[in-house]
Amino acid sequence: METDPEYYVSGVCAGNRKILAKTITLVESSLPKHQELITGVLNRLLPFTGKAVRLGITGVPGVGKNTFVESLGMLLVERGQRVAILAVDPSSTHSGGSIMGDKTRMEKLSAQPNAFIRPSPSGGTLGGVSRKTRESLLVCEAAGFDVVMVETVGVGQSEVSVASIADFFLLLMLAGAGDGLQGIKRGILELADAVAVNKADGDNLAKTLQAKNIYADAMHLFSSDNTNWSPPILTCSALHMIGIAEVWETVLDHHEKMSATGALEQKRKKQAIQWMLTLLEEGLKDWFYQIPEVKKLLPQLTWEIERGESTPTAAVRKILTSLNN
């Protein structure tokens, strides 16, 4: 592994694919020496970041995220844009390993010279999905990509992380069999800048249009805190490339409006501050559990609670006061 930051910085800025790939590997590495190295690299890349449209995409398994990215990616590439895709795949909790088939569903795009697709396993690395993808996104921006898409499976925490990275958070949905919001949590709908009901084709078309109305009604219930943007409900067929351009129009429209009012800059700043706080909390946690006193007290108190000799409140107070002394 190359240890000179300059190697990475100049390589990424020159758009060298191999070095771009290696830099992302560094971002994802759990080794302290790699993290130190990448921190330096990122610092120097920072001036070159911020120019891409950052698009977050999520949805339940099978909704068509990869297919959508393939279609939108091809559309952008054909318009002469450079596109990077960061796809997060779940790691197995049993083996720690993962199986990443994203490129089997993005066959055309993955062969395009102006596209870069990097699937990443979700598991095992410090800071979780958000740290890795956030930094990888910056690296891609420095490499000159016009659009960076981040794709995650819509289960659990990851979509919240994506929303905290992206300028535009797109939620893909399906027309369910008459149900309302199929397990998508209210919180996620609140984050979405648009909902696209996918697979609007064939036998499914009528159902999709119906679902669009149901979702539109549901969306009304969430008053967005953003006054000049009300999230639209769209329909598309990722497979047949229908409605994809419209989704992109929406993203651009949002981007223009937000840029014009300065809201975009505000959003990114807010995200950065939020990000700092998250990092701080994580750092605090790590630091806290490494304190010898905590390491000693924690098992002891756990045991006391187990035997009913202490209450959780009392135990916490004891640990915290022990640190004050």
Partner: protein, 709 residues
């Protein structure tokens, strides 16, 4: 255990005594199909079985589709073959016919299957390697030179490029002076299973189903003696399906074709009698026999919903092939014995025709010698063993009849599931059948790797020093020859007329009409297979498979947690040391569609704690290398089974180097003849894993190689 009357309890006592303490129940074993096999079957097991004691030749045909079966005329010996060039294949066919083979069965090469001419840039490693290349009717004419097509029944395994190839056959016959209504034989034309397991599709399912219907429609009018679809379970079995899955999915495919033809306005009795089947026969002797009987029952039963007037419409006539998957590279002469058993099972199951595999199956295409032994296996069963003397000799066997019943029951459950999904075409889109087959394959591999399923010479009774074997190698000059011929053909035809007829095909694809009819016209004008295919691709597009990845199945079947745990520990340690898990790209290059091995290796490696990338199928070396670079993998694992390795692997390595990937470790698995090992090592391959490799061992080798870098 059934307890009826004094007799059975007497047997139970005797058996228990012999068992010395182990329970009688422990002798009941469950098969991969989920069927419990008891140690003894009696008359009681046949009570209430509706189909027992029927007669052969009558509905529901459990005992056979002909009244006299082999007592009058034996099954047709039909060996699947094709390689190198039309000329060489023709010579091979003629020799075989002279030596006792009765029907022809053409194996096309992979570019032809996928609608590419030999000069296409995506097929540099594939021309003539795994079948015979046919670019135009000129090749077709050479292929059947000296073979009278009005007398010889010809079976053609063609599904993707089915229109130009069937048209080529029709025009070749025409130019031999044989008119269409005299043609007899079979075109496979079974596209559904291509999406499931065989992987030589070209267009998406919907237009492909139209092509099937167009062919059925055209032939039912013009080629009354021709079998228009060969509904195939064989490939599913070879991809990992057990007997119940094979039966259920095949029958469900068949029903889907019937519905498509009915929707196209055909009358059931005009085409149903021309549908035939193709089953794979493995090593579970009685299961295979019972499967064929069960399949005949189910087909007759299900076809009744369409109210045919002709009882031939209920009849499941089938070709069979012994299992190539059951044959080993190790101690290869054992394969002759395996094939003999499988041959016998197919015969006792009542097949109409049969292919028997050669003992060098797991090394290369058959040599003259191995092909002769394979053919003689059937001839000996036919002419020496006397098994043909009685119709359905196993009819009435308590075990076989009961097993037949179990398969019917189990397969019905799956067929009902498919019905609920809206039929097989929809089920395929849902991914269900493919998933089932791959799970079954992963379990099988895990059982073999743990030596629970015995394979002699592979995981038991291994031979130390194996003698080298003669191998058929296809010269790379074949491609040059084909390319030169293509050029010549294109120079000597009326190109304006060709353009016109190709435009007509595109139009027909777009607006309707019979695609076989226009294809025949195009072939007469010397349009090539690739050109005709392209003309339709303009409208239909090319299908890209969605690869689903199963995970956890291999590990769940793995009881020996020690080996699994030690591998997981190794990958954890690797991650601790390197900052990330070992990352491997498993890739398939060229037109090779054998993905059983790559799938099972990928899922197993993920279960060991690797991060596994899988590439799309049909990669060029440049494409595969780019994925390796972008994903920054430690290892590229190439799975190569269709003899493209000597061209594709060096190209991959060169392409990696060009992009700065000289440190990426390369391993290769699949069908690599031992004689080619040094060639691959010399170009930079770190390790080669042939058929029969234990996957846990492969993973350990890969980790070793990574550590020694």
């Amino acid at each position: 255990m059934a307890d009826s009357g004094p007799e059975i309890s007497k047997w139970q006592k005797l058996a228990e005594k012999e068992l010395r303490g182990t329970s009688l129940e422990s002798l009941t074993k469950s098969t991969p199909e989920g069927i419990d096999i008891k140690p003894l079957y009696t008359a009681e097991d046949l009570e209430n079985l509706e189909f027992v004691n029927n007669l052969p030749g009558v509905d529901p045909f459990v005992r056979g589709v002909r009244a006299s079966m082999y007592t009058n005329r034996p099954w047709t010996i039909r060996q699947y073959a094709g390689f190198s060039t039309a000329k060489e294949s023709n010579l091979f066919y003629r020799k075989n016919l002279a030596a006792g083979q009765k029907g022809l069965s053409v194996a096309f090469d992979l570019p032809t299957h996928r609608g590419y001419d030999s000069d296409h840039p995506r097929v540099t490693g594939d021309v003539g390697k795994a079948g015979v290349p046919v670019d135009s009717v000129e090749d077709m004419k050479i292929l059947f030179d000296g073979i009278p097509l009005d007398k010889m029944s010809v079976s053609m395994t063609m599904n993707g490029a089915v229109l130009p190839v069937l048209a080529g056959y029709i025009v070749a016959a025409e130019e031999q002076g044989v008119s269409q209504e005299k043609l007899m034989g079979t075109i496979q034309n079974d596209i559904l299973k291509e999406y499931l397991t065989r992987n030589t599709y070209i267009y998406p399912p919907e237009p492909s189903m139209r092509i099937v219907s167009d062919i059925v429609g055209y032939c039912s009018k013009n080629m009354p003696k021709y079998n228009t679809v060969s509904i195939s379970g064989y490939h599913m079995m070879e991809a990992g399906a057990d007997s119940v899955l094979q039966t259920a999915f095949t029958i469900a495919d068949g029903i889907e074709y019937v519905k498509a033809a009915l929707n196209a306005g055909l009358d059931i009795d005009d085409f149903a009698p021309r549908l035939s089947f193709f089953f794979g026969i493995g090593m579970n002797f009685f299961m295979e026999i019972a499967m064929l009987r069960a399949a005949r029952f189910l087909w007759a039963d299900l076809m009744k919903q369409f109210n045919p007037r002709n009882s031939n419409s209920l009849m499941l006539r089938t070709h069979c092939q012994t299992s190539g998957w059951s044959l080993t590279q190790q101690d290869p002469y054992n394969n002759i014995i395996r094939t003999t058993l499988e041959c016998l099972a197919a015969v006792l199951g009542g097949t109409q025709s049969l292919h028997t595999n050669s003992f060098d199956e797991a090394v290369s295409l058959p040599t003259d010698l191995s092909a002769r032994v394979a053919r003689n296996t059937q001839i000996i069963v036919q002419e020496e063993s006397q098994v043909t003397r009685v119709v359905d000799p196993l009819g009435g066997s308590y075990y076989v009849e009961s097993l037949t019943h179990s398969i019917i029951q189990e397969a019905r459950k799956i067929i009902n599931e498919i019905d609920e999904l809206g039929g097989m075409a929809k089920a395929i889109v849902s991914g269900m059948p493919k998933m089932r087959i791959e799970e079954s394959s992963a379990r099988r591999q895990a059982r073999i790797d743990q030596e629970k399923d015995v394979i002699v010479g592979v995981n038991k009774y291994q031979v130390e020093d194996e003698a080298p074997m003669e191998v058929r190698e296809i010269s790379s000059e074949v491609r040059d020859q084909q390319v030169a011929r293509l050029k010549e053909i294109k120079e000597n035809r009326d190109n304006v007329a060709v353009e016109k007829v190709l435009a007509a095909i595109t139009k027909c694809a777009e607006t309707g009409g019979n695609l076989l009819e226009v294809s025949i016209e195009a072939v007469r004008k010397r349009a090539t297979v690739g050109e005709i295919s392209d003309a339709m691709e303009k409208v239909f597009g090319r299908y890209v498979a969605t690869t689903q990845c199963i995970s956890g199945i291999y590990a769940s079947e793995y009881q020996d947690n020690e080996i699994l745990a030690s591998l997981r520990k190794r990958t954890d340690e690797f991650a601790e040391k390197e900052g990330r898990r070992p990352r491997i790209l498993v890739t398939k290059m060229g037109q090779d569609g054998h993905d059983r091995g790559s799938k099972v290796v990928a899922t197993a490696f993920a279960d060991f704690g690797f991060d596994v990338d899988i590439s799309p199928m049909f990669q060029t070396p440049a494409e595969a290398s780019r994925i390796a670079i972008d994903n920054d993998v430690h290892v590229v694992g190439v799975s190569s089974l269709a003899a493209g390795h000597k061209i594709l692997v060096p190209e991959l390595i060169a392409s990696l180097k060009k992009q700065g990937g000289e440190n990426v470790l390369i391993v290769v698995g699949g069908i690599i003849p031992p004689a080619d090992y040094d060639f691959l090592y010399d170009v930079g391959v770190a390790k080669i894993f042939g058929p029969g490799s234990v996957i846990t061992e492969c993973a350990n080798h890969v980790l070793n190689a990574l550590e020694n870098r």
